[in-house]
Symmetry: C2
Subunit: 261 residues, 2 copies
DNA sequence: CAGTGGTCTAGACCACACC
DNA sequence: GTGTGGTCTAGACCACTGG
């Protein structure tokens, strides 16, 4: 039973109790939690207090409300995401793109939506492509699905002059790989940087990727540069936190960092 | 003014209005938002409705409540975090560890707390170290600070037999680097994997790293292996999402992935 | 129809920092 | 003291899904 004089508030005590049950496994993924009415009864509190406690766990990403069925422990099945999985260009006869070829094994059917348009890119991208306000980029906006569920979004931005009159502007898969197309048109990439950071999703992203409340995203940005340092492309990936593990294999010895002292 | 019949609820409409002001810059980082009383007055709603709207933005990580001053737009200054910044062992005369040497440049004073103990590691770590329940590991738990603020936590776990009677068990900086110490004791690492995933923090992490509500974390796990594939160390880094950009520089051409099609 | 969570109201008392 | 957000209560009506 709750104590009204403890240093922790009543809603925190209720939340603590439920959180502990989730973390120690006595409430397993998929299990149903007590209903709001149960908590009101058990702890003798007002409904909002019980709701506040549950809302804390929802915002921690531990549980999800499925009206009108109740609150349930979330199930996280993370798939591997390997940013450097393919450091070489595709063989010219590769049947389809990296995502489509690699994910098939997981047993879930890969698919994707594509949408190509000319836009003024968001500031994050404009900065990396060194575009001034008013300058345009071609964007191939995609959502990759696995088994019908959105897996991540992948938006590739190209400066307009770079891709004018290339197949990149057509809303289809590019089996040879966009990098090869770029190279064929005289734009060879010689360097790229990966940046990854973490934040809560925008409402747009919540809708596009069907994110549950309490789900953060990783933003993965790849910027590719030509021989004279000019940016040629900028890829903006949004990875839902409950669906991905980003994996880098570190080749070679010796290694020392981070744990290094 | 809000509409009570729209498809979006009242709290969502209020949240939308405030969110738009934050995102388009008319409310800049550090600016104070309208008080709850302001919103009640302006939108003619109950206090909880106004609070619900503000709570949405708090959980999105956009604003923070500073009682009794009001709600303020959050300011995110992300520092670079380079997991592969040092792929070689330190020169034997390196004065201090990677973090301490690298971060000084940023103008903020680096420091850290260290705590060494013998524990049964958390399941995430035990799995990677291939430890059975009941088997122990030595952990060096650290929090790295920049300018007095917690920057990230760095917990290095070693199987007990590997580090018994080595300087790793002493609660001090190891200037030569833990990897060299391991190597000197016959445990040479030949391979490592990096895994990064994203989630909301546990209450413990919130306290240890002084995280604001709505701040997700990146979990960065490095596992190092010996010549016969035996795990020698597991480093568990918790990176607050509002403080880090993880950067990988991709050497060499050709590159093709993710944006590849 | 019954039970679930979602939204909203109208009040109360509290802790805290600043004046 | 005054004003801020934090907690809590006690109710109301609604939307959705399942039996």
């Amino acid at each position: 039973m709750v104590s009204r004089s403890a240093s922790r508030s009543v809603k925190e005590q209720i939340a603590d109790e439920l959180r502990a049950a989730v973390l120690d496994g006595s409430l397993a993924p998929g299990d149903r939690l007590p209903t709001e009415a149960d908590l009101i009864e058990r702890h003798q509190v007002a409904r909002n207090t019980a709701r506040d406690a549950l809302a804390m766990l929802v915002n921690e990403g531990l549980i999800v409300a499925r009206r009108p069925h109740g609150y349930f422990v979330r199930d996280r099945q993370r798939m591997d995401y390997r940013p450097q999985s393919d450091l070489s260009v595709h063989p010219a006869d590769a049947p389809q793109d990296v995502f489509l070829t690699e994910q098939g094994l997981a047993g879930r059917e890969p698919s994707q939506s594509i949408d190509v348009s000319i836009v003024e890119p968001p500031p994050e991208v404009a900065k990396r492509l060194k575009l001034n306000p008013g300058e345009f980029a071609v964007v191939r906006r995609r959502v990759r699905f696995l088994g019908g569920e959105p897996f991540y979004s992948n938006d590739s931005f190209f400066p307009l002059p770079v891709v004018q009159d290339t197949p990149i502007m057509a809303p289809h898969d590019i089996s040879r790989g966009a990098n090869r197309v770029l190279a064929d048109h005289g734009h060879v990439q010689v360097k790229a940087t990966d940046e990854i950071f973490v934040r809560m999703p925008t409402p747009d992203e919540v809708k596009r990727l069907d994110l549950a409340p309490g789900t953060p995203v990783a933003v993965h940005i790849i910027t590719g540069y030509g021989p004279s340092g000019e940016p040629l492309r900028c890829v903006l990936n949004i990875l839902p936190g409950d669906r991905h593990v980003i994996i880098y294999d570190r080749p070679g010895y010796p290694l020392d960092q981070d744990g290094a002292e």
